[in-house]
């Protein structure tokens, strides 16, 4: 190498372009994984659908109040506007540490899986939002809004699925000024594979939210079979919980459930049946 290394050689922008092109050639270009992308896209669409439904419900119930942002907690935002909020600390509001609930767990191919839910309290200002964003990042969680400030005044929830030693994967999540209150036979659900490999039979895990009054959910599988999920004390068999409708810490407006399809079939739909 030349000894003349002290900045005498200047690079033009064309040179930079040349170097970038050369470096870019280092990457191995395999076949485009079209089917995997389409499957992933459909999954995203299903998730978005679930979130969109929730949005519609909330908009129907809180017209007007939505215009006033940044005011967490229950009640109407406009009513709170001139009232001093109690000085609850961010820690007490679970801004930096979420409340966590195990929705279900089980075993698959000798490895444990878990579906958990975490609910993060609403930050009240930019500092709190930035710290919350970092705390989420530290847990590998990515909120729906990609700017910390967008979290202000919103409660964020994440349903994650962990399989074996894989990192938890979030697959149903949102940040909302007001958590949706489901009623009657309202049900929102999303599906996901049990592990990270795609199953040709479809997604096996169905996770959803129902009204606090719902007593039974039926999950329908593609092979025509069903699984009943009931509200009430969780029943354990060999130390594994049977499917149940459970309350979630920090999410007072709905209960949640998880059901898992038998092997070699996938989730079709779910309904509140009682």
């Amino acid at each position: 190498m030349s000894a003349d290394r002290n900045g005498n050689h200047d690079m033009s922008q064309t040179d930079i372009a040349f170097l970038l092109a050369d470096a870019a050639d280092e990457v191995e270009i395999g076949a485009a994984p079209v089917q995997a992308v389409i499957r992933g896209g459909r999954r995203r669409r299903a998730r978005r659908w679930a979130v969109a439904s929730a949005t519609a419900l909330v908009v129907a119930g809180t017209t007007g109040a939505l215009a006033v942002t940044g005011l967490p907690g229950g009640g109407h935002a406009d009513r709170q506007a001139n009232v001093a909020n109690p000085p609850a600390s961010p820690e007490a509001r679970h801004v930096y540490e979420p409340q966590e609930t195990e929705l279900s767990r089980g075993m698959f191919k000798g490895k444990p899986w878990y579906v958990d839910m975490q609910v993060w309290g609403a930050p009240r200002n930019e500092d709190e939002a930035a710290r919350q964003y970092d705390a989420m990042a530290a847990r590998g969680i990515e909120p729906v809004d990609d700017k910390p400030a967008a979290l202000i005044g919103k409660t964020s929830y994440f349903v994650t699925r962990k399989y074996g030693s894989q990192r938890p994967r979030q697959f149903l999540f949102d940040s909302r000024q007001k958590l949706e209150r489901l009623s009657g036979r309202d049900l929102q659900f999303a599906t996901n594979p049990l592990d990270d490999t795609s199953d040709p039979h479809g997604d096996r895990v169905a996770v959803g939210a129902v009204a606090k009054t719902a007593r039974e959910v039926t999950c329908f599988w593609k092979d025509g079979t069903t699984t009943l999920v009931k509200r009430g004390p969780v029943v354990y068999e060999h130390n594994l919980p049977k499917p149940a409708i459970v309350p979630v810490a920090g999410y007072p407006t709905a209960n949640w459930f998880v059901c898992v399809a038998p092997e070699r079939t996938g989730a079709k739909t779910a309904e509140v049946t009682k």
């Binding site: 030349s2 290394r5 690079m11 395999g30 079209v34 992308v37």
Partner: protein, 179 residues
Amino acid sequence: MGDRKQARDEEFQSFMTGRWPRLMRTAFLLTGEQHAAEDLVQSTLEQVYVNWRRVGSADDPEAYVRRVMINAHARRHRRRLKEFLAPRDDSGLAHEVPDTGDRIAQADDRSALLKALAQLPARQREAVVLRYWEDLTETQAAEAMGCSVGTVKSNAAKGIAKLRAVEGLAETVTQGGRK
């Protein structure tokens, strides 16, 4: 209805197959790592697929794809800053250890560039890659990054200045570059 959906899927498939190599290269420059690049392109295209009905009929679907990719990159970068910064053992990249042998000097040069690129702040890296690899105008780069033209200019200028300061790179170029 089913036919139309199938036609859209086929259209997307053709779009994706055609753009995959280029997107992979861009993602590789942004992330500095093979698997991270694949992951970035794949999640970008998943989002594109979700909106394909709208995107496919837009005047410039490429601009949308770039915007999605840059957003995703920025978000990931915030999330796990250090993870993608240094080329890793399984990336197929050579390490930066200097060597006098001609055969690996070329790999070292590339590695030096990728390393230097990886050390740039994410926005500077994005600006450099979009301007000088993707060959976008400042306006197009600003659209992709969701910022002003001025921000692109300053990020690109700072990024380039830092790359210029990397000794081995300047020398390589002056010697006529690599074949």
